[in-house]
């Protein structure tokens, strides 16, 4: 990082090589189209390089980069938005009056389920149907594990608004995905029931999930 700050292009390229796919996953979650997401990542790295002198080193480079990616992605959405979505539920913090989350899990092994193209296509559809703000919050939370406070800061809104957005995003995602599972194709039933791993859930999953996140690159390398 220090070398990149001194103007070493190879050092900056190393940073690019290390983080470009992760940045792309984030951008994809927000802008939804691969070409747009690639543009966002490119702009984000150029901006990051331009402002390298402002990086103080008290956070990781990626923590700094993902904020740039998010800002560029949100700007991209604003520039290309045709109709401004109306989100009447954003100011509501307490979702008790709304449709609650259904106490139904989606299957035994999500990792196994992701092999199925239909499930992935349905996740895509479900993400597409979320509003931009709901999707941005969901992606920041699920992909980067950001705290509510950090998300509120990143999106310049209150923590309550973030909780509301996240809740509605998850509930809408569940509705979309459960619809698929109500009438699953035979191969999907096999995937979900034969995959195993339906252990007793650990409700405090954040630490375990952090571990999983840390292992994710290795798992992806194995898949490749």
């Amino acid at each position: 990082m220090a070398a990149a700050q001194r103007g070493d292009r190879d050092a900056f390229r190393t940073l690019f090589e290390r983080y470009h796919r992760r940045a792309l996953a984030l951008a994809l979650g927000v802008v939804r189209h691969t070409d747009d997401a690639l543009d966002v990542v490119q702009d984000a790295f150029i901006k990051a390089h331009k402002h390298l002198d402002k990086f103080e080193g008290n956070a990781s480079f990626y923590t700094w980069l993902y904020r740039i990616v998010m800002n560029v992605a949100i700007d991209h959405l604003r520039k290309h938005r045709k109709v401004r979505p109306v989100e009447l539920d954003e100011t509501r913090v307490d979702p008790e009056g709304d449709q609650p989350l259904l106490p139904r899990i989606l299957g035994g092994n999500p990792g196994q389920a992701l092999i199925d193209k239909q499930i992935r296509s349905r996740i895509d559809q479900a993400l597409d149907q979320l509003s931009e703000n709901h999707r941005a919050v969901l992606v920041m939370r699920e992909l980067e594990g950001l705290s509510y406070e950090d998300m509120a800061q990143a999106m310049s809104c209150s923590k309550g608004t973030i909780m509301s957005r996240l809740f509605h995003a998850r509930r809408n995602m569940q509705k979309q995905l459960l619809d698929l599972l109500e009438h699953p194709p035979a191969e999907l039933v096999d995937e979900l029931t034969g995959g195993g791993g339906a252990d007793e859930p650990d409700v405090r999953g954040s630490e375990a999930r952090s571990d999983e996140r840390a292992r994710a690159p290795a798992a992806r390398s194995q898949r490749r």
Binding site: L38, I46, M163, P201
Partner: protein, 182 residues
């Protein structure tokens, strides 16, 4: 829909599943309630599905696209500046047009000020507070009368001089014939 007594709300379940709360009472409530447990598990599953799906989507993009992206990025990189002089140069480069516009404007104002500057103030103008300049003038010689023509009368010129001034007295005496007419 109000949750039964001792059943945590969806928001509380979400906060716990997201690691935003570690309230032990809430933990025991969720662990003791199958429906709450299922919701917490659902939140985790959904997170795994979304994360896995996006990561796989990013992985599916071919390396060649990133190589092309790097070439475009590399072509647009501006070397970071170091050292005082480099920073000043960079600052000048960045604001070059502003500086040139400012310099041209300042020059134009200076030229206008030069052209339109006020001249020597006119002491006769009302309101003028400038000092009156008294210019020295050459002193004239004392008046001298070379010839005096007084028809019908005789005249005499008497010059009176002292240290400070000079005066001349012209004494005219009419002739006798004219004196009678007068």
């Amino acid at each position: 829909m109000t949750p039964p007594m001792n059943r945590p709300s969806d928001l509380e379940i979400m906060e716990l599943a997201d690691g935003e709360s570690d309230d032990p009472d809430l933990v025991s409530q969720i662990e003791g309630d199958p429906e709450s447990r299922a919701k917490a598990r659902l939140i985790q599953q959904m997170g795994e599905l979304v994360r896995g799906h996006l990561e796989l989507s990013a992985d599916a993009v071919h390396d060649a696209k990133f190589a092309a992206m790097w070439r475009r990025i590399d072509g647009q990189l501006v070397p970071p500046v170091s050292g005082l002089w480099s920073r000043i140069s960079a600052w000048f480069d960045r604001y070059r047009s502003h500086i040139i516009t400012g310099a041209v404007s300042a020059g134009a104002v200076a030229a206008l000020a030069l052209v339109l500057r006020p001249g020597v103030p006119d002491p006769g103008q009302p309101g003028s507070t400038s000092t009156i300049i008294v210019r020295p003038v050459a002193l004239r010689a004392n008046p001298e009368i070379d010839a005096l023509d007084t028809p019908g009368a005789s005249s005499t010129v008497i010059n009176l001089d002292d240290d400070d001034s000079h005066a001349a007295v012209i004494w005219v005496t009419p002739d006798d014939s004219n004196a009678e007419e007068l």
